[in-house]
Symmetry: C2
Subunit: 149 residues, 2 copies
């Protein structure tokens, strides 16, 4: 089990870089970190507004982008828009083709795949990421087909 307590709170590092820790900013980061699956900007916006109703969508977008640039969270392009991931540690993703939810799964062990690509292509490989697709436990139990919905 991974909790936020185990992840060093890089808010102080942010402050050191001249970023201010405003109420909306803290809350946006909290919401993303507390999220079960990987929320879109719109979802973050709705959750943030439950506690701070004056926050604008523009502020949510600005902060999500800034926090991603600062390494406090990860930004990922998806069909239907960007999604944000409060887990910055190494891990892979599983996308349920039925319900669309995206789950974190433990990272696959690295067995020289990067080196192999580099050797074959002459490219400099700096990072890699694996995505899995299928049917999650909940949808499986409900007997929902991944094709017919």
């Amino acid at each position: 089990m991974i909790t936020n307590k185990m992840i060093p709170d890089n808010l102080d590092a942010l402050r050191a870089r001249g970023r201010r820790l405003t109420r909306p900013r803290r809350l946006i980061l909290d919401v993303v970190r507390a999220a079960d699956t990987h929320p879109t900007a719109a979802v973050v916006y709705r959750r943030v507004r439950r506690r701070l109703p004056r926050v604008s969508l523009a502020t949510v977008y600005r902060n999500l982008r800034m926090l991603a640039a600062e390494g406090c969270l990860a930004e990922r392009a998806h069909a239907g828009g960007l999604r944000f991931d409060g887990n910055t540690g190494p891990h892979d993703h599983f996308t349920c083709l039925v319900c669309g939810r995206i789950y974190d799964v433990p990272a696959r062990a690295e067995r020289g795949g990067r080196r192999r690509i580099a050797a074959r292509t002459g490219f400099e490989v700096l990072d890699h990421r694996t995505e899995y697709y299928g049917r999650c436990g909940a949808c499986r139990r409900r007997g929902r087909s991944s094709v017919t919905g």
Copy 2:
């Protein structure tokens, strides 16, 4: 080396499904298949119009989506918009962080990663895909840093 000759020309299969092989449709598929890297809808649109200047952007979008649904090409969400891939065989991708180009690379051998995920999560894993990130050969030779551009 994989060539289009080895991929059965599923245009006939399309026709069998009641789809018509119009001039724009053929050309759109040709353009995507002939593309070096993975074009956006806008890029496909520009290339198609070089040969068929009356084609509209809406037609390009409609056909890209339809051809993807029919399995003639693959659609992938990326920062900056959707991209399309004429190579429907199994392969992974390498994204150059300097120039943004996306290259096909041979698929990593499957070593039980899917089974492992299934065992740990109880999910039904149907597919998986690995993305590599780094600096491509051209950008490397030009000495462009992946950070400073």
